[in-house]
């Protein structure tokens, strides 16, 4: 432990180990960083821990550590080529199975069948709106203790520390409703048209068009 200057604070080995990861991240205030630098000058063990931890990060970050199974690249290329050639970007994975689903629905005599194939969850609030024209694959975030999904970075996410990302389609299927702030444009275009998501996720949700208008 070193205290070369009275106005510089000193740290012990335990404190150094506790902060060593933040030290390597550059995520420390200047005073603590300076104190740790002082400590490393005289403590051989902590210096060794620092160098070893740095080596660990350097070794694992090397792409050679990421081995893929033989033929992985070739199989990926084949699958991507097959799937992207036939479809337009923004509409690929869904259209692949939407076409047969739509055909089935027509043969069976209407959208009733499509409705029976999907599970719909009750809306969480009488004021909740299902949203329209939300791209099914759009990535949205939900937090652990709320039932609303948001555009990532929305200011109104309830518990930003515990969010997970999923697609809009999954969020709707799991009973989440769009945030009236960041997803507003999807609420206001309710009557504008029939969205892919609206028809495929739940016909029940489509029936709530009348709730349009924002909050």
């Amino acid at each position: 432990m070193v205290n070369r200057n009275d106005d510089r604070k000193a740290v012990n080995c335990e404190q150094v180990w506790h902060e060593i990861s933040n030290y390597l991240e550059g995520d420390l205030d200047l005073a603590l960083r300076a104190a740790m630098d002082d400590h490393f000058l005289t403590c051989k063990n902590c210096k060794s821990v620092l160098e070893g931890t740095r080596n660990v990060i350097q070794l694992y970050r090397d792409e050679r550590m990421m081995e893929v199974p033989a033929g992985f690249g070739r199989r990926l290329e084949r699958r991507l080529t097959q799937n992207t050639r036939l479809s337009r970007s923004g509409w690929s994975t869904w259209s692949a199975w939407l076409v047969p689903v739509a055909a089935l629905a027509l043969i069976a005599g209407g959208l009733r069948l499509a409705n029976s194939l999907t599970v719909s969850y009750p809306m969480q609030s009488a004021h909740a709106q299902p949203g329209h024209d939300i791209p099914p694959d759009m990535l949205v975030v939900v937090s652990a203790d709320a039932k609303i999904f948001h555009v990532p970075g929305c200011d109104f996410i309830h518990n930003k520390g515990r969010v997970r990302t999923l697609t809009a389609k999954e969020a709707i299927q799991q009973g989440y409703v769009p945030c009236p702030r960041c997803m507003r444009k999807y609420l206001e275009t309710a009557s504008a048209g029939h969205s892919a998501l609206g028809s495929e996720a739940s016909a029940d949700l489509d029936g709530d068009d009348g709730l349009d208008g924002g909050q």
Binding site: E14, S21, D62, F72, G73, R75, L76, L80, T93, V141
Partner: protein, 244 residues
């Protein structure tokens, strides 16, 4: 020196887009390449082209990241077949959503986040998840003290050319608990930042930092002995002489 090498590595990663042509399954050696801006611009141009409907360029766009995507899926699913399928599916989701990609985030980060989401969704679906709740908190409150103080100086990058070294590192990583392994994987291997790692896994920033610290220190303890025994330099690893 370390910083230079790190910089060179990042440049090399970006440069793959420009070089075109097929890349081997094995990674190429680290080479410093000129003109990173030009390469970044090329990636942006590729993204814009695919967004406008030039679908055939999509594989060229994602090819530099195929290893990282697979590794992220494997870290979560721990099964080669599942990881490969999840990686392919994640790429297709990225393609389907390419118009929603905004230039303010890194393309690689966006791709990895989609992959993590896909892999986590599959794991939830398989119901193989053991709930981690109270245990998490108890463990993360305890400080981890290093046990190994072997002098472990700079490691030659060539060490990674040797398969047994890569295997030792992979074994050490696989021996960590899932929560430590996943955070370490996303932050230190996939190079997401702390916030992005937290968002991808749906945990707090504080948890990421705590788990990262433990993961790094545990790996250092597991591997520091290997340095003393010389298997990072030139000596072959001898049978029955395990460093951990």
């Amino acid at each position: 020196m370390e910083q230079l090498r790190f910089h060179a590595h990042r440049l090399e990663e970006k440069s793959r887009v420009l070089r075109g042509g097929r890349r081997d399954e094995m990674a190429e050696p680290i080479v410093a390449v000129q003109n990173p801006e030009q390469r970044a611009t090329h990636e942006q141009a590729l993204i814009a082209s695919v967004q406008r409907g030039q679908n055939e360029l999509f594989y060229e766009l994602v090819r530099p990241y195929e290893r990282r995507v697979y590794a992220a899926a494997f870290a979560i699913l721990r099964n080669e077949t599942d990881a490969e399928d999840a990686a392919q599916e994640a790429m297709l989701k990225a393609f389907a959503n390419i118009r929603q990609f905004r230039a303010e985030s890194r393309f690689s980060t966006w791709l990895i986040q989609i992959t993590v989401n896909e892999a986590l969704m599959r794991r939830r679906r398989e119901r193989t998840v053991v709930m981690e709740g109270i245990d998490d908190r108890r463990e993360e409150e305890m400080d981890y003290a290093p046990r190994e103080f072997a002098d472990w100086r700079e490691i030659p990058s060539e060490a990674l050319e040797r398969k047994e070294v890569r295997q030792k590192l992979a074994q050490a990583l696989a021996s960590l608990d899932r929560k430590y392994r996943e955070v370490f994987m996303l932050r230190d291997m996939e190079q997401l930042n702390i916030q992005e790692t937290a968002e991808a896994l749906g945990i707090s920033v504080a948890s990421v930092k705590t788990r990262l610290l433990r993961a790094r220190l545990m790996l250092r303890d597991l591997l520091a002995g290997g340095w003393e025994q010389g298997w990072f330099s030139h000596l072959p690893f001898e049978k029955g002489n395990k460093p951990w």
